[in-house]
Subunit: 110 residues, 2 copies
């Protein structure tokens, strides 16, 4: 984010280049998160653990809200964001458990 003494169009271009870089980072970090949750899904399916874990999710939500607040990010948005990801993860955990091919699938899990 570097904006100083430039026209509106130039400033918009600068900001969009930062946003594009940030989005590339987000995609790669999300890919790594799903590698972890894929492994969690396989573990859970192998050991017959339930796909969802409300206690763990509550702890995650409270922690993320605190981190968001420190980073000046709306905690409600951070919570919505985590729920959005967890829903995807649960969907994939259920697919792993149902298909019984714990080790396949592009990504998954909490």
């Amino acid at each position: 984010m570097a904006v100083n003494g430039k026209s509106a169009v130039e400033q918009l271009g600068e900001l969009r280049r930062s946003i594009d870089n940030i989005d590339a980072a987000l995609v790669h970090i999300l890919a790594e998160r799903f590698r972890c949750t894929q492994a969690v899904g396989v573990l859970k399916a192998t050991h017959g653990l339930p796909p969802s874990d409300p206690g763990r999710e509550q702890v995650q939500i409270e922690r993320l809200r605190r981190l968001a607040d420190d980073a000046n990010l709306d905690p409600d948005f951070a919570e919505k964001f985590l729920n959005f990801i967890i829903q995807e993860v649960i969907r994939h955990h259920e697919a792993i458990a149902a298909s019984d091919v714990a080790g396949e699938g592009r990504h998954s899990a909490s």
Copy 2:
């Protein structure tokens, strides 16, 4: 993600520690993204530009799908994720434009 020769509970703990680190990174990167989009929102409001830009969004979606594919992340999920964020951003751009206090507000914009 480091899992080798450990009990299921230990492996789950390891994976969850990685997930927690990744989530902290995501929160901070999202906070920076919203700082950028907040600045975009102020620019747009100041210059009377529309909050949404379908052409730009299409380019962002296609790029993110390619990046996701390279990172072995489901491109459909990447697209859904970007739309989730853009919806939040548009909501905040509209709020900036409506309130006419372009410079306030916790976060916003595309």
